[in-house]
Each structure stands twice: as structure tokens, then as C-alpha cells.
């Protein structure tokens, strides 16, 4: 039992959190990718840009960047899911064997 790092509650919490994270962050990534207007407010924009072309370029790159960031974060949650799933399984098994 070297690999048991967290207890049954923490691993369950991680499991639920990562499932939620994967679903929501993947969807948010998709929405950033298709340039959803509702998410415009969250983009990192420079308030001093007044040129229209520059502004549009910045928005475009912001959307793409955020889409990628969301998917990467979703991948990180996949890793979390695997780890906490493994922990959960170990915890369950150890409680059964006891």
C-alpha cells in the first residue's frame, strides 16, 4: 500500500471535481474556439487599442489562446481523474481486503 496518498473522501472529491472539470473545461474550450460572445468579457484585452484591425486580431488570438488553455486544463483534469481514480480504487480494495 505504498501508493495510497489520500483517503477515500479526498479521492472521491478529486474524482467528482475532475469529471466536472473535464466536461466544463472541454465545453468552454469549444465555445472559445467558436468565438462565443458571452465569453468575450473574460479575454485578456488591452484597453488602449483603438485600431479596429488590431483589436480584432487581439480578440481572435485571445479566443484561440483561451480555447487551447481550456483544453490543456481539461487534460490536466484527466490526469487528476486518473490519479484520484487509482487512489479511489486502492482505497476501496484495501477496505474490502480488510
Amino acid at each position: 500500500m505504498v501508493f495510497v496518498l489520500c483517503g477515500p473522501k479526498l479521492s472521491l472529491c478529486g474524482l467528482i471535481l475532475s469529471v466536472w472539470g473535464i466536461i466544463q473545461l472541454t465545453l468552454m474550450g469549444v465555445f472559445y474556439y467558436i468565438r462565443a460572445v458571452a465569453l468575450l468579457e473574460d479575454l485578456p484585452l488591452d484597453p488602449n487599442v483603438h485600431e479596429l484591425d488590431l483589436f480584432i486580431g487581439e480578440v481572435e488570438s485571445g479566443y484561440t489562446q483561451n480555447a487551447h488553455n481550456c483544453w490543456i486544463a481539461a487534460l490536466l483534469y484527466v490526469i487528476t481523474l486518473v490519479i484520484s481514480g487509482h487512489q479511489f480504487w486502492m482505497n476501496n480494495r484495501s477496505s474490502v481486503s480488510m
Binding site: 466536472w20 473545461l25 460572445v37 473574460d42 479575454l43 489562446q65 483561451n66 488553455n69 486544463a73
Partner: protein, 837 residues
């Protein structure tokens, strides 16, 4: 059908049971669980009742079971659950069970007694062994010194004298608890004025206390002293400190022999102890298998005898008489249980059931299933419905989740709640089997269907508010567009979208247009929209509540109240507040940017609230140029008429019912004496003598017209309080529904703030570092969403919904003065006791 509409009809029945069949019959009734017994000897104290001895026997058996259970738990033996709970044992089995319990208890008692004795022996021997082993070192050191002095003394001339003194150097060896050592040492030093030489060493391993099984740490000591007097003093001190003294031979070889002897004895004892332990384990395992079913049987027996104690003995002592409330629908079941009961004991004379008439208010019984149970609990928490009163729980099933959802409108949060509720509903059976002592979890689990419905309704209102974690979704395509060109857009920081140019005059398919999420005046718009919604829902909800009172008046044969109370109430409410709702709708329909007429364009729309205040205060505001003060022709006149009619309703509410009752009581005064003559408990006997119509009339009159007997002044005061309360409450309750708007606003703003303060932190980066930041930010955002937005806000919205139902809705028709039907049922008794454990 109609099971939820009002509580079930109850009948007061008398049971006549043969004494032999009593036990089995009551057992059957307990299994059926549909009768509530009444105490027929309330003034007899608990020790003088008929079945006291049996109850005592059950108590004794319970005590034994508790002892056995404690022993079983002490040894950590698993007690298996019973699959099918056993029925109450019949009297012959009781004796067997009693004997069996007695035997088991004695066996376990003896075993533990023996075990304690053996362990005591074992402890003493271990201590002795330790004393012998540890003192070895002391004596060796002592002897070396002794040898030195001996050789010295041999050289000197006074050898004989020295020998004599040395011969009197005695010692005492023993074991004392470690925490007592310092005090013990000091005491020895004091009584001997420093003439005692104490050597001690701690035992490394703790010893086991034979009686309690606790670990105790002890210290071995040897006290050297001179003189008999000192010896007796030291012994006294040892006794005072509970130190156990062991004989320790002074010579080395004797000690070695003794250690050997002790060791072999210890080994033997260990073997015996192991065997005892095995035997005990075997006994306990075999008992543990039966334990659960025995304890259920005993508890059932005890419940039966307690119930039998409520019964009355017939004068001839030939049968037991009991009185009970039974739902009329369950009468056949009760009959069947009685027949089964008398068959079970082979009695030749059947027991029988006789319904009797009574003036007493029967208990309230709403038959619920697992879905409606939660909602019925919400209502019962306010007050149990009066007998056969209209049951608000039926409507609560829909209105409760709906009003909750108006305050909790967010698709994302609703989905979380619905998933949680859905999981509890799907896993219902396995979750219910896992009995938990966690109070919060039990509350959630009991309300699983409410949570599920609240979640689903919140998803719907979230869709209407177009809110998912404070973001809007453009599903059906926004019907607004930007009419400005790029030059205008770049030169202005903020622009107003005039609906005339920017709106295609087709509303968004469902709910709020997503364009509002990006608007600066979003909150102003939503406030006006949600405030109107809450007033509309509130007025409809209250009107519904007032209408429910008709059902009660009609059922309780107080038809005069429909005219004297209900109609003035509903007229008052409708003419003032339903009219306001009407104005809201009219304003929405009549005024538009696209309107041709100037008076109906957007700038001219009057404020509904100002119009309403003007109507109440008879004042007026002069409209701006081109606009009209009122929304339609002769609105001013209509308003004046409405207000006057509404005001006229107040005296009707105030005086109508008291005056009617006054005149009615005058008319019926001559008939009264005859009526009250028949008002005896056993109405059956009177039936032949009195007029049938009168008899039929009487119980209803007694049940419903509790006011009729009161003096006029009392009635008048009651009515005045009711009227003032109603008139004031229509205004305050309407305002109270504004909490729907306030909480919904708070919820939406809180979730927006959470998104902007926490999750946005991870979305503000140009590089890929943002991904890691987002990972962390999402974790915190998710936790806060759960803890604050779903749990805390959910709880507050729940409480406000509860208040809206209890105060604003139920005050219109619900009196809630009944008492709950508590049937004699083994299942509830066992569950209750399990919870107490």
C-alpha cells in the same frame, strides 16, 4: 383518488378480544400497523396495570440482551443483520426464549468471570517474574558492595558486630503503578527519615488490567531497610499505594529456581487462557447469529404488552376491551388481523370490532408514499392539518419547487442539484439500507424527491433567465443586432441600442435575450422584469390560497362563510392587486416603440407602481407632453369604483359572520335543549329515541361550529382580528413576494462575482501558463460554487420558499390544529429504537 386532497376518514372503534387471543391479535394488528390505541385507564399508574409482570419480564430479557450485545461488541464479533424481521413469538416460545437467554447470559457471565480470575493470576505471575528478573541487577550490585564491606570487616576486629547489623538488613520487593512512584518514594523517605534505600526500574511493556482490559504501566521496586519496625511501616505504605508485594528469596540460586518455576507456570496459564478465549469466541459467534432477531422479538413483545395495558377488562373478566382510531379504508384489514389473531391461538369465540360514534376530533392521517412523504413533512412541520381539512401538501408538490426555482434560477446550479437529487433517487434502495447517523445527510436523503424537483425546476428557470454559471447562451439566435458602422463604434465607449433600429420586433424564442448579458443596464432591466414576475406569481398564489378556503367552508358546512368571508376577501384581493397585475400586462401589450400613436410609445409608458399609489391616495400626476396619465379610457373612474368596492368589503368581512351567527343562535335557541340532551358519548343508544335528522346534524354541528357556543363579544373580537390581519396582510404579503426578486438578483450577482473574481483569473493570460492557472482557478471556483452558490444559497432560497408557503399561502385557508395519527406499528417502533441507539 383524493388521498392527498384531505386527510382520511377515521372511525373510533371498540375491540372486544378474548383474553387468550389478545396477545396474538395485537401482534397481528402491530404487523398491519393501521390502528392507534387509546389509553382506557389513564388514571391507573404504570405499576398497577394488568400486564406489568409481562412487561417486567420483557425488560429483564432486554437487559440480558443488552449485556450479551455489549460482550459481543467488546470482542468485535460481527452481528449479522436479519433479512426478514421475525414475528412476535407466541407465549410458549417466550418461555423458551427466556430460558435460552438466561442460559446464554450465565454462560457468558461465568466465562468472563473465569477469564478475569485467570487473567488476574496471569498478571500476578507476570509481575512476579518481572520482579525476580529486574531485582537480579539490584542484588548483584548489592552483593558486590556487601562483599567489599565483608572483606573490609574481616580485616577489622568488629566483624561479628557488623555481621549482626548486616543480618538485619531486610528488603521488600514489589510492583507499583508508574504514576504513583514519585509520591511513593517521597513517602518512604519521610517515614524512614531517609533510612530506606529504594531501587526501582520501569517495566518496558504495559500490563493488561484483568477487569477492564486497559493497559497499565508499572514499576518494579526493591526497598532496603533496617529493622522490623521499619518493615511494618513500609508494608503499610505499600498497601496504601496499592503496590503488590512479592516474596523474593535473598539468595541468587533460589531466585533462579523460582524464575524457572514461574515461567513454566506462566506457559501453562497462557495455554489455559487461550482455550478460554477460544471457547468464549465460539459462544459469542453462535449467539451473535441470533442476537438481532432475538432483540426484535423481545421489542415486539414488549410493545404488545404495553398496548395490552391500554385495554380495559370487561366486568365479567371474560374479554378485553380496547378503543382505537382506524382509517375507514383500513377497517377490512383490521377485521382480517383480528380473525387471524384468534385463529392463531385456536380460540373458538371470534373477536369483534364495533364502530362507535364520538364527538371527539379524530387524528389526522394522510396516506403518503415515498414521493409525497417529503412534501407532507414540510406541511406537518408548520402544523398538522385539522381533521379532514384541505391538505396544502398536494399543491406544494409543484408550487414549492417552482417558487424555489424562481429564486435559484441558474441552469448550471440547477443541474448540480438535480444530479445530486437524481443520484439519491436512483440509488434509493442501497442508500436507505446504509443507515447513517449523519443528521445532515439524513435530512437530504429524506428530501431527495424535493431536491430532484427543485433542481429540475431551477434548470427551467435558469433557461428562462438565460443564466448558466452567470453566462448567457445564444441558442435560438438573438433578435437584436448592431445598427452602427465601424467609425461610430470606434469613437464611442458605450452606445445605446434603440429597439427601433436594433430590434427585429420578434422576441427571443424562450426567456431573456442573450444580448442582455453584455449590456451595461442589465441589472436595471432584470430588476424591473423580476419584480413584476414576483408580484404576478405572488398574487396568483394568494388568490389560489383564498379560493382553497371555499373547499373548507363547503366541506365543514359553513356555507354562510363563503358569502360573508370568502367573497369579500377575494373581491378585496382581486380589485386591488389582481388589477395591478392586469395593469402590468396591459402595459406590456399596449406600449411599444413601434406604436403608431404617440401616447403609446415607449417614453409615455406610465409607472404601474405610481398609478397604483395614485389610485389608493386619490392623487394624480400630470403627464408630460403628448402622453396620457392613464393607459386606457375611463381608467380613473374604474379605479375609483374598484377602490370603493374593495373598501366596502371590509365591513362585510368584519361584521357579516358575527351578525349571522347572532341571528342564527337566536333562532335555534328553542331547539337547543333537546339537541344537547343527546350529546352523550354513546350516541348509539339515543338513536332510537331522537329524530334521525337531528342526530345526523349534531356531530357536524359540534365539529364545525365551535364558534357557535362562544359569546357574541368573543366572536366579534376574533372576527376583528381576522379582518385586520387579512386586510393588512394582503398588502404586506404581496410585498413579501418581492423576496422572489431579491433572492434571484442576489443569486445571479453572486455567481457573476464568483466567475469574475475566481475563474477569470485563469483566463487572463496570453501564454500557456494560463492553462495551469486555469486548472487551479477552476478547482477553487468549483468548490465555491458548490459551497456558497448551491449549498448556502440553496438553503436560503429553500427557507424563503418555506416561508412563502407557510405564511403567505397557508394563512389564507389553513388552520392546522389537528394531531397526527400514530398507528401502533412494529416497523415504526423498531426504527424509532434503532435511531435512539
Amino acid at each position: 383518488m383524493g388521498a392527498m386532497f384531505r386527510s382520511e376518514e377515521m372511525a373510533l372503534c371498540q375491540l372486544f378480544i378474548q383474553p387468550e387471543a389478545a396477545y396474538t391479535s395485537v401482534s397481528e394488528l402491530g404487523e398491519a400497523g393501521s390502528v392507534q390505541f387509546r389509553d382506557l385507564n389513564p388514571d391507573v399508574n404504570a405499576f398497577q396495570r394488568k400486564f406489568v409482570n409481562e412487561v417486567r419480564r420483557c425488560d429483564e430479557m432486554e437487559r440480558k440482551l443488552r449485556y450479551i450485545e455489549a460482550e459481543v461488541h467488546k470482542d468485535g464479533v460481527h452481528v449479522p443483520q436479519v433479512k426478514e424481521p421475525p414475528r412476535a413469538p407466541n407465549p410458549r416460545e417466550i418461555i423458551d426464549l427466556e430460558a435460552h437467554l438466561e442460559k446464554t447470559e450465565n454462560e457468558i457471565l461465568e466465562l468472563s468471570h473465569n477469564a478475569v480470575n485467570l487473567k488476574q493470576n496471569y498478571l500476578e505471575l507476570t509481575e512476579l517474574r518481572h520482579v525476580l528478573e529486574k531485582t537480579e541487577a539490584f542484588f548483584l550490585a548489592q552483593e558486590e558492595i556487601g562483599m567489599d564491606s565483608l572483606t573490609k570487616s574481616l580485616i577489622s576486629d568488629e566483624a561479628g558486630q557488623q555481621q549482626a547489623t548486616r543480618g538485619r538488613l531486610g528488603f521488600v520487593a514489589g510492583v507499583v503503578q508508574r504514576e504513583r512512584v514519585p509520591a511513593f518514594e517521597r513517602m518512604l523517605w519521610r517515614i524512614s527519615r531517609g533510612n530506606v534505600f529504594l531501587r526501582r526500574t520501569d517495566l518496558d511493556k504495559p500490563l493488561e488490567d484483568p477487569a477492564t482490559g486497559n493497559e497499565i504501566y508499572k514499576t518494579v521496586f526493591v526497598a532496603f531497610f533496617q529493622g522490623e519496625q521499619l518493615k511494618s511501616r513500609i508494608k503499610k505504605v505499600c498497601a496504601g499505594f496499592h503496590a503488590s508485594l512479592y516474596p523474593c528469596p535473598p539468595s541468587n540460586s533460589e531466585r533462579q529456581d523460582m524464575v524457572k518455576g514461574v515461567r513454566t507456570r506462566l506457559e501453562d496459564l497462557n495455554m489455559v487462557l487461550n482455550q478460554t478465549r477460544d471457547h468464549r469466541q465460539r459462544v459469542l459467534v453462535s449467539v451473535a447469529k441470533e442476537l438481532a432477531s432475538w432483540s426484535i422479538m423481545v421489542r415486539k413483545m414488549k410493545a404488545i404488552y404495553h398496548t395490552l395495558n391500554l385495554f380495559n377488562m370487561d366486568v365479567t373478566k371474560k374479554c378485553l376491551i380496547g378503543e382505537c382510531w382506524v382509517p375507514t379504508a383500513d377497517l377490512p384489514n383490521v377485521q382480517k388481523a383480528l380473525v387471524d389473531g384468534s385463529n392463531a391461538c385456536g380460540s373458538s369465540i371470534p373477536s369483534f370490532l364495533n364502530c362507535i360514534e364520538t364527538d371527539e376530533e379524530p387524528p389526522t392521517f394522510n396516506r403518503t408514499n415515498k414521493f409525497t412523504h417529503g412534501f407532507q413533512n414540510l406541511i406537518d412541520a408548520y402544523g398538522v392539518a385539522s381533521y379532514r381539512e384541505c391538505n396544502p401538501a398536494l399543491y406544494t408538490i409543484i408550487t414549492f419547487p417552482f417558487l424555489f426555482a424562481v429564486m435559484f434560477g441558474d441552469l448550471g446550479h440547477g443541474m448540480i442539484m438535480a444530479l445530486f437529487g437524481g443520484w439519491m433517487v436512483v440509488k434509493e434502495v442501497s442508500l436507505a439500507a446504509k443507515k447513517s447517523n449523519n443528521e445532515i445527510w439524513n435530512i437530504f436523503f429524506a428530501g431527495r424527491y424535493i431536491i430532484l424537483l427543485m433542481g429540475c425546476f431551477s434548470m427551467y428557470t435558469g433557461l428562462v433567465y438565460n443564466d448558466i454559471f452567470s453566462k448567457s447562451m445564444n441558442i435560438f439566435g438573438s433578435t437584436w443586432f448592431v445598427p452602427y458602422d465601424n467609425a461610430t463604434l470606434t469613437s464611442n465607449a458605450a452606445m445605446t441600442l434603440d429597439p427601433k433600429d436594433a430590434f427585429i420586433n420578434v422576441p427571443y424564442f424562450i426567456g431573456i435575450d442573450p444580448i442582455w448579458q453584455t449590456a451595461d443596464n442589465k441589472i436595471i432591466f432584470l430588476n424591473s422584469y423580476k419584480m413584476k414576475l414576483s408580484i404576478i406569481f405572488g398574487v396568483i398564489h394568494m388568490i389560489f390560497g383564498v379560493c382553497m378556503s371555499v373547499v373548507n367552508y363547503n366541506f365543514f358546512k359553513r356555507r354562510y362563510s363563503i358569502f360573508l368571508e370568502f367573497i369579500p376577501q377575494i373581491v378585496f384581493l382581486c380589485l386591488l392587486f389582481l388589477y395591478m397585475v392586469f395593469m402590468m400586462f396591459y402595459k406590456w401589450v399596449a406600449y411599444s416603440v413601434f406604436s403608431e400613436e404617440e401616447a403609446f410609445t415607449q417614453g409615455c409608458a406610465p409607472s404601474v407602481l405610481i398609478l397604483f399609489i395614485n389610485m389608493m391616495l386619490y392623487s394624480s400626476t400630470t403627464p408630460e407632453g403628448g402622453c396620457k396619465e392613464f393607459m386606457f379610457e375611463s381608467q380613473g373612474t374604474i379605479q375609483t369604483v374598484f377602490l370603493l368596492i374593495a373598501l366596502c368589503c371590509i365591513p362585510i368581512m368584519l361584521l357579516g359572520k358575527p351578525l349571522y351567527l347572532l341571528s342564527a343562535s337566536k333562532k335555534s335557541k328553542h331547539v337547543k335543549p333537546e339537541n344537547s340532551n343527546g350529546n352523550v358519548n354513546q350516541g348509539i343508544e339515543m338513536q332510537d329515541q331522537t329524530d334521525i335528522s337531528e342526530v345526523e346534524q349534531k356531530p357536524q354541528a359540534a365539529a364545525s361550529h365551535s364558534h357557535e357556543d362562544e359569546p357574541f363579544s368573543e366572536i366579534m373580537i376574533h372576527q376583528a382580528i381576522h379582518t385586520i390581519e387579512y386586510v393588512l396582510s394582503t398588502i404586506s404579503h404581496t410585498a413579501s413576494y418581492l423576496r422572489l426578486w431579491a433572492l434571484s438578483l442576489a443569486h445571479a450577482e453572486l455567481s457573476e462575482v464568483l466567475w469574475n473574481m475566481v475563474l477569470k483569473f485563469g483566463l487572463q493570460d496570453h501564454g500557456y501558463v494560463g492553462a495551469v492557472k486555469l486548472y487551479v482557478a477552476f478547482c477553487f471556483w468549483a468548490l465555491f460554487t458548490l459551497a456558497i452558490l448551491v449549498m448556502m444559497e440553496g438553503l436560503s432560497a429553500f427557507l424563503h420558499t418555506l416561508r412563502l408557503h407557510w405564511v403567505e399561502f397557508m394563512s389564507k385557508f389553513y388552520s392546522g390544529l389537528g394531531y397526527i395519527f400514530q398507528p401502533f406499528c412494529f416497523k415504526t417502533i423498531l426504527e424509532q429504537e434503532d435511531r435512539d441507539d
